[in-house]
Amino acid sequence: MERGRRPHTSGAPRWIGPLLALAALALGACGGPFPQSALDPASDFAWKLQDLFEGIFFWAVIVFVLVEGALIVAIFRFRERPGGAAPRATHGNTLLEISWTLAPAVVLVLIAIPTIRTIWDVDQPARGESLVVEAIGHQWWWEFRYPDLGVVTANEMHIPVGTQIDVRLTSADVIHSFWFPRLGGKRDAIPGHENQIWFTADSAGLYLGQCAEFCGLSHALMKMQLVAEAPEAFQAWVDRQKSDALAADSVIAAEGSQAFMRGGCIACHKVRGTVAQGVIGPDLTHVGSRRRIAAGILDNTPENLERWIRNPQAVKPGALMVVPELDDETVRRIVAYLQSLK
């Protein structure tokens, strides 16, 4: 799959993309880079939407220039002049009215055609072979399940580049919305409904996403990451994720494992291959392999993990995780254990 492949269905001239980028740049000159930008598509789905948007943006620029131009000309040309004659009272002109009713109608038809074409493309169930990933929204984290591969993970989704991914969306509590801007539009994860969204990533990389539907106190902290990688690398990831948890590789991790199993953590968390079989919180079997913790808001470092375990609500207000009283030593042991779960 070549990079930056784009379908070009809107018929907009090719300079509109650069113009849009220029406008975005002019404003964001003091900002950027924008790692979560919808204007930087990296999948077929995202390119379809970008292409459609550029077509509409093209017409919007034309209409904007013409209408604002007419307004400005009217203001300067017809301002009151001393001694000027009283204006002629015109009440209307049917021909003009008909033409400026038809002109926007024509433009709208030109926008509607690619719009409807794109709707019937992207708002349908996925066609052809795809890798199914179930994404389940929780207050405030994401669960990802790969039913065909036997993988369950949280907040960090992995996909192979060039394979169509069919994301099945639902929610365990309230409405959330699944959104990786560079990989395409968003779709809501709704309790009691199953939604779908599908895309094929163009290029390997780390993509950022976050919940886009207001879902309560820590909505802003419900993030996720997506790693698109070469098929071989993806297969290696799957093999690691499928295996049971690794045995503790150090004394402190082994002590941490015992503290974890005794400390009540297992009521909510699962660590496959151990007695921890909870299903309420994220699966921690390979938590040590994830780049970030707490739904993509903290780097996965021992210090951050310690911060999180000591007081999850201080990191993420309203987080549902309940932590028993733990002394410093126990916290450090549990951190060592979780870090060892690669």
């Binding site: 404003l27 900002g31 919808a38 002049r81 204006p87 009272a89 708002d123 349908q124 539009g185 009691g192």
Partner: protein
């Protein structure tokens, strides 16, 4: 005490100009008034105060978002602020500010002495005012509503929103709905039945036309949200499961009910402003409105189509290609009548002799900003493109270009245009223009970058954002703009205070207006017209034959009798809010007291004679 003939020296500022005793009398006379002009003033002042409250909420939001990972405002408070900012601006600021103009201006424009049901009018105001206080009192009792102004189920269920916050929102909106429907029915009857002789429908001023259309929208749209709110109230208070997916309920039912109301609501907010602009531009161009009939019909069409586009708020919900196609196409259709209005305004300016006074400045700013809001609207009418835009700052930018760049600019145009009629004094044109320029520049500084924030991936309703996503600079710009925008309001307030203190008196007609309100004194006497006018065409004051349409004060006719004041509308309104408080706290005795007060109020109202 129907009409005190005394010169109203007790009302500071306006006394000297107040020939008709329009504003004279103490606080009791205001509590019991049924005069549409006084009710209009009360609507205007209280709506402006709530506009400031909503503005302060917006400034706190912007201060929090000025820098990444800011800890100025915690998420709990932030969610209350953005919920109340939306709720306040929609229901407590823009709608009642429009209602202020309906009240003050419409009876004057159609040549009537009052609205059809003056006591119902007072009742509408008091229900609005007390309902607004009720809703805002939540800040003192455990926190304000925090589930968004759209209150999506099932986040609003008792499981995910325990406590009274959402109850305040549900009951507050139900109370405000009573006010809106009563007012809307009143204006429908007023406009249809009380037009003066010769005022055919197609001679009605545009503002009156848009008021009529808006009133129909209110009557038809509010039942949908009322149904939704009642279902939600039952879910929260009586354990029904309408919105509980685990018990077979459907969370999307709420979204449909809410947006079947919510989209017409956008036009409820917008159309009065379109009407004002359609009145003001001709007066300052010295030229009749171009394409009157097309401007009227396009307003009707916008209102009609407004009921068929609600699911464009739900393109990411996954309704499927058929629904998304239909709603995308219907939404795009609305751009046509909206465009027709804009073209007709420009055609009205074209060939005119533009007097560049403050009201026209705001109208021109309105057109310029509204075009931008309309164009971004077409961008997300495209259902597929909207999948990237919905629930991001792109939408925040769009709604503010429509509701602030559009509606608020139009409402300020209306205020600068009609306040001289209300107070009999002129606002400073110089301060008005300073206000305009600061507002225009800071508005764009605040909201234009938000388009790009959204496209670059910033979701809305987030209390914080991480550094490194490129959002820092544009958010800072937006915050600086918002602070400037807020300060421009101080100039307006200063201008109004200066006017009340020492503004030069205006005559009956400071602008050379074309409609009937300019034929009588400013402020108008409490009876408006001694002799009811007759009109022979549109723009009656510009018509060649104006002998009958300038009743003025010089007519030697007896002073008309007007309905006397009544305390029962206020009493009934108090009863309704007490009922809501009883529901809120689920204390039956309070509820019954409320019911008793309502019954007492209605009984007294029915049997109180019209004149004392």
């Amino acid at each position: 005490m129907a009409v005190t003939g005394a010169v109203g020296a007790e009302t500071p500022g306006v006394g000297a100009q107040d020939h008709g005793g329009t504003y004279s009398g103490g606080i009791w006379s205001w509590l019991t008034t049924v005069d549409h002009k006084r009710i209009g003033v009360m609507y205007g002042v209280s709506a402006f105060l709530f506009f400031l409250v909503g503005g302060i909420e917006a400034l706190l939001i912007r201060l929090q978002l000025g820098t990444p990972e800011n800890t100025l405002i915690n998420p709990d408070l932030y969610n209350q602020l953005f919920t109340m900012h939306g709720t306040t601006m929609v229901f407590l600021a823009i709608m009642p500010l429009s209602a202020a103009f309906f009240n003050f201006i419409v009876p004057l424009q159609i040549g009537a002495r009052d609205v059809a049901f003056p006591r119902l009018n007072a009742f509408s105001f008091w229900v609005f005012f007390l309902g607004a206080l009720f809703m805002n009192s939540s800040f003192l009792f455990g926190g304000a509503p925090d589930a968004g102004w759209f209150g999506y189920a099932n986040l609003t269920s008792t499981q995910y929103s325990p406590g009274m916050r959402v109850d305040f929102w549900v009951l507050g909106l139900l109370v405000l709905g009573v006010s809106s429907i009563a007012a809307a029915l009143n204006f429908i009857v007023t406009i249809i039945n009380l037009r003066c002789e010769g005022m055919h429908f197609m001679r009605m001023p545009l503002f009156t036309w848009m008021t009529l259309i808006t009133s129909f929208l209110l009557v038809m749209a509010f039942p949908a949200i009322t149904v939704g709110l009642v279902l939600l109230m039952f879910d929260r208070m009586f354990g029904t499961q309408f919105f509980n997916p685990l018990a077979g309920g459907d969370v999307l039912l709420w979204q449909h009910l809410f947006w079947i109301f919510g989209h017409p609501e956008v036009y409820i907010l917008l159309l009065p402003g379109l009407g004002m602009v359609s009145e003001i531009i001709p007066v300052f161009s010295r030229k009749p409105l171009f394409g009157y009939a097309f401007v009227v019909y396009s307003g009707v069409l916008i209102a009609f189509l407004g009921f068929g586009v609600w699911a464009h708020h739900m393109f990411a919900v996954g309704l499927g290609p058929v629904a998304n196609t239909v709603f995308a196409a219907a939404t795009m259709l609305i751009a046509i009548p909206t465009g027709v209005k804009i073209f007709n305004w420009i055609a009205t300016l074209w060939g005119g002799s533009l007097r560049l006074k403050t009201p026209l400045y705001f109208c021109l700013g309105f057109i310029a900003m509204f075009i931008i809001g309309g164009l971004s609207g077409v961008m997300h009418a495209s259902a597929a493109a909207d999948l990237q835009q919905t629930d991001t700052y792109f939408i925040v930018a769009h709604i503010h270009y429509v509701l602030f760049g559009g509606v608020m600019f139009a409402l300020f145009a209306g205020m600068y245009y009609w306040i001289p009629k209300v107070t009999g004094r002129m606002l400073s044109d110089r301060l008005g223009k300073i206000h305009f320029w600061i507002m225009l520049v800071s508005f764009n500084l605040t909201f234009f970058p938000q388009h790009f924030l959204g496209l670059h991936g910033m979701p809305r309703r987030t209390f914080t954002y991480e550094s490194g996503l490129g959002f820092e600079a544009m958010n800072l710009m937006s915050t600086v703009g918002a602070l400037l925008l807020g300060s421009s309001m101080l100039i307006f307030i200063w201008n109004v205070l200066q006017m009340l203190r020492k503004g030069p008196p205006t005559g009956a007609d400071p602008w050379g207006g074309s409609t009937l309100e300019w034929s009588i004194a400013s402020p108008p006497p409490h009876y408006n017209f001694k002799v009811l006018p007759k009109v022979y065409g549109r723009d009656p004051l510009w018509a060649a034959d104006t002998s009958d349409s300038r009743p003025g004060d010089d007519v030697e006719a007896p002073e008309p009798h007007m309905p006397g004041p009544s305390a029962f509308p206020l009493t009934t309104a108090i009863g309704i809010v007490v009922m809501a408080a009883g529901g809120l706290t689920t204390t039956l005795p309070v509820l019954f007291v409320g019911v008793a007060v309502v019954l007492f109020g209605v009984y007294g109202w029915a049997f109180q004679p019209l004149e004392h």
